[in-house]
Symmetry: D2
Subunit: 370 residues, 4 copies
């Protein structure tokens, strides 16, 4: 009889509602269907860099009982890390300086030392690049795509996105009550550095008056004009949803070069729009930055199910030894494709898409018209 | 200059989260984009049967202000009705007997009397049949599909379904706490008369131990055996999600002909399974019927957006005079198709589908194995 | 140096949101403040009846890590039981017959065998009676009151109640959407066998048209009249909240002796009212029984905090050896009192109270006026 | 027969969940019980300053239908204003300069012009002061206290507070998922300029590791030490809840005079703590400012009911002509007291209170120990 395959599983990058559902599905399928032994690797690749490393998450062999019910919880039981690319690992030199170094060989070595036969890596674009490099170095690895921003070209939807949109929509609903009571302009900054998906979906669901996304640079004077027109029409409050990556037309200089210099370095997109508007309109303007609350909490049913399907499919990929591949969703079906094909195909909001057109038809302003 | 088109909009069948979002989108698009005058017709076709008819909803010309923010609310501001097919209208005769009669001509007449140029009908399978018959009689009508059960073949997803799944999942989460604390078998009956979509999606998301759906007839003895096996493995509680249309293999007689006769006529699927199990296992078994709470409350972001896109597309269908057609979702895109093509193509859960297989891989039991 | 005190903690009766917060607070306070060793006893007193007994909950020594974050979760990590009064313990005789027997001595013996110096018992009226009898037999025991129905005279409020009211209110909100859309009479049956607190609080918060509670027997004809009057005033839908213990004036016979006999034995209060109304009004009447979903899920902030304060106070009672006492809330303060004083003082809704009067002032009907 | 009393109702200050429940209860009780005619006055006193003034809220006579179901919604249907004290009204002079002027006589005049016999003013400390001054000038006015911060000495609890605590607790729950996954220090800034009630209640419910409130000045080095100790004990993440009014011991200078000068003027308490910690510990520190989302959305059941009881009691005060008085909650009972007595008695968190002691017993740090 053959020995059981030993399979490591890890989560990399920012946490995202649904990570635990992937872990649970992969572990349950792995153990019950394929007879794997499943090792939870802690804090992304950190758990393979230094086998003595110990965070509260901890490298540990997982049982079905360990993953019971975890699909209902946010975060990841394995821990994660935004840093720790083994090909560009940052260590402190004796002088205290940070030095980048390639420790990928050590990771491979440690993997063999533990006796792992395969790795399931759940992560975003960065994690998939690392996975691909490890695959090219001979690591038997499969991928599960993850980004709360939904901006991966390889898959129609990523888990976590639906939950983030639900949270952002609920926040917009709440802020609308206050905005309406006080005749205010409320700016809500949501996640989305490169792509405006969360802003578009939550803004449409919440009935925002304007939605500012990276894909459609805004003109601050056009937004000011909209507010003035609404006010003249006795619509004294406005809700404006702003992606964290929203940019003014022509870049930040459009707000005024001098002022920009004086502004705090880390001012977010929402605050930047507010600053710009305050110079142009007399309305009472407030900014709310949703930030990290968009990431946590119980995943939505949709995200739990998508993540569960991914997790099971990833375990099957390992069982059939289809390494170097990742799972994805296409037209409602779970498919697999080479990780190499998936990298660097971001999925952005098409300004001409039916969804944007629908929002416009309902009177939503994207900050781009004169 | 041409007169503005006058367009009536109505909602038929059971209420469903997202109806108000369709109404809002159609009204806003109709008025602002196409210059329509939009009439809200009350209580499905009742508002066109008797022009003097008045419910609290009321036939009334709608403004953009009337629909502001309604996408956040459950129900329908127009009222709806499960009865009232104008081709089989039920009236009380003088003797008090109920008589079915065809009053479709009167509806057409009333439509012309009000001066309506087109109708947007939002409804389920029944409503689409009525729409088709009216279309064949010359009524300029377009359709928007609606079923909380998600069992329409014409469209990949219907609005309301995602919200219902979220509510059912949350209920399963709650019941799991109690089941685990008391070592109980908890049966949760969810909507789904012909199709098990809600049970499958909520059951998978909630981590149910068994899911019973109409498409996979169950064997009560197999379920009892599963409970006994779990109990022997120290898993003393089980969550079983039951579609209201779940059926035992071989029909209801499998529970025992005598007993069945003694059972109340209206016993639901959940209670029927409980009765059967109580004869076979000693576990503490409880039934919760979610019922109407699955229908109300704020629609999920997904449902608001799908409904909004449908509503806008329906208004565009009217503007381009593509009558006899309905909107639908296919592979993420809004498409249109003849209402006639859409009727009577139910969409059922395929027992061999990847989603069912995923649930099985995770250990979920469908009541069908020995 | 003295040995650490060994303290057992158990939860009895129906589960209730907040139990885990009590456990966490007692364990953390016990360990960190008083140096206790804390034993989690499984399934109420079952864990002390048979030391070999093992449910998934399990007798186990608890660490602070074991209780981290559990205040956010429903149910009880210790398991509970509605049965298992050691003074009337039910065992199966060899012939299979159930026999009641007093095994309280065995429980005391087992307690000493484990080396426990004290017990913290969290439970309802029944559990407090058992605690008092054990205290009289010499057991060093303290009590934490628990009832989701809020009907304990000894304390102003019990944890779990606020959460149950929130869940019931949300359900009423949802059902109102559907009722309004369909012009229906919606009956919502909520918990409350002896006291109408949940119905009163949720009904008032949800704006129910009628609230039926055990303390105010209803007249079915009066309710029918109310529905007719509302209908005549174009208010075609009504929401009626019904305590599970609501009773018609004069007892069940008022519905008609013959019919009652034909009705299923276990028909709930909601269904009974519906049956009665269907004979008197033509409205479309639906019943929703909330049942167990009122018990589970994350406790409200209020319940977490009340339970936390109780748990800490109970640990302090043990530390100061004030056995035979329980904690309670009086005018916002945590107090302690003899368990003996607390038993059998139910707290019922006063039909003349300001809260009932407020509901009446807002037009809520209690089913009692002609 | 006497003419009906005409009663105006207005809401002042920041919006707060429960305002609509007060309005509904006062309007329903006023109309149905006392035969009042009820005028909704727009945007606090603005609606009485200029009778031609018109916001979307609008002065209007309210019917019972106008207030149906509004207790489920956040905000206020009457609009509100943080500005507009008629005794210090700000107007723009012709030169564009803002001038403060006393227009209280005009308000009284306008009140008589409309024919109002009484005013119900719902508002915070500021609004109560204005009410008292108007009462002294002869206005028949009664008060309903409102502050989301719960810091009014006159009443045991204000509506809106429970909802705000629930929202903040849910946010802490979410952030805990992310903090635990990333081994981060998460700072959550909640409302509470002068009093730490929201931070204390939400922090205790969410199991925060530290709670910083205005009543207990913090030492940044002590917090840094706590983080280091937790890290050493393998608890690599911490949740710190910060009132917006939290202050370092000795005032802001403790962070370092030079740095403070360089910091943006409007840096909130959360960011200030983060800045301080970043100099002392190497942990990954993130700040989330909940801001306005704490104010909106459906009020909790508790807040709806407290607000409803206040609204009814306020209408009764008017009916019995007990002007110059306000309603309050004392030991669970609705009472009334002179507005004059209620002003300027803030209710702060007592650092020695049982609730703070409970939090400390559970290991929560208040930033004050060495």
């Amino acid at each position: 009889m053959l020995d059981a395959m030993k399979v490591g599983i890890l989560t990399g990058g920012g946490d995202c509602p649904g990570l635990n559902a992937v872990i649970r599905a992969a572990v349950k399928t792995g153990i019950a269907r394929h007879g794997f032994e499943m090792l939870g690797i802690e804090d992304a690749f950190h758990g393979l860099v230094d086998l003595g490393y110990q965070s509260p998450h901890g490298n540990r062999w997982l049982t079905e009982m360990d993953v019971r019910g975890i699909q209902t919880r946010g975060g990841t039981i394995l821990g994660t890390s935004n840093r720790g690319d083994p090909f560009h690992y940052v260590v402190k030199s004796e002088s205290g300086k940070e030095i980048e170094t390639d420790i990928s060989d050590r990771v491979l070595e440690n993997m063999h030392r533990i006796g792992l036969d395969a790795i399931i890596s759940i992560g975003g674009d960065g994690s998939m690049r690392i996975a691909q490099r490890f695959f090219e170095k001979g690591m038997p690895i499969v991928g599960v795509p993850k980004t709360i921003d939904n901006d991966l070209g390889a898959t129609d939807q990523t888990f976590g996105f639906d939950t983030a949109v639900c949270i952002a929509t609920e926040a917009i609903d709440r802020l609308s009550d206050t905005a309406a009571s006080h005749d205010r302009v409320m700016l809500v900054e949501v996640m989305g550095r490169d792509a405006g998906w969360i802003a578009l979906h939550a803004g449409l669901a919440g009935g925002a008056d304007a939605i500012l996304i990276p894909e459609i640079p805004y003109r601050i004077d056009a937004i000011a004009k909209m507010i003035a027109q609404r006010s003249a029409a006795k619509q004294k409050y406005s809700i404006i949803v702003v992606s964290e990556g929203a940019k003014p037309l022509g870049g930040d200089r459009s707000i005024g070069e001098t002022r920009a210099g004086a502004m705090p370095r880390l001012m977010g997109a929402g605050s930047r729009v507010a600053e710009g508007l305050r110079e142009l309109v007399s309305a009472d303007i407030r900014v709310t930055v949703l930030g990290h609350i968009q990431r946590g909490g119980p995943p939505s049913s949709f995200d739990r199910n998508l993540a569960t399907r991914y997790g099971r499919a990833a375990a099957d990929l390992v069982a059939t030894k289809q390494f170097g591949r990742m799972v994805a969703l296409r037209d409602g079906q779970i498919v697999t494709l080479p990780i190499a094909d998936a990298i660097a195909k971001p999925k952005l909001v098409d300004p001409k898409s039916e969804m944007v057109e629908t929002a416009r038809a309902l009177g939503t302003f994207f900050g781009d018209e004169p």
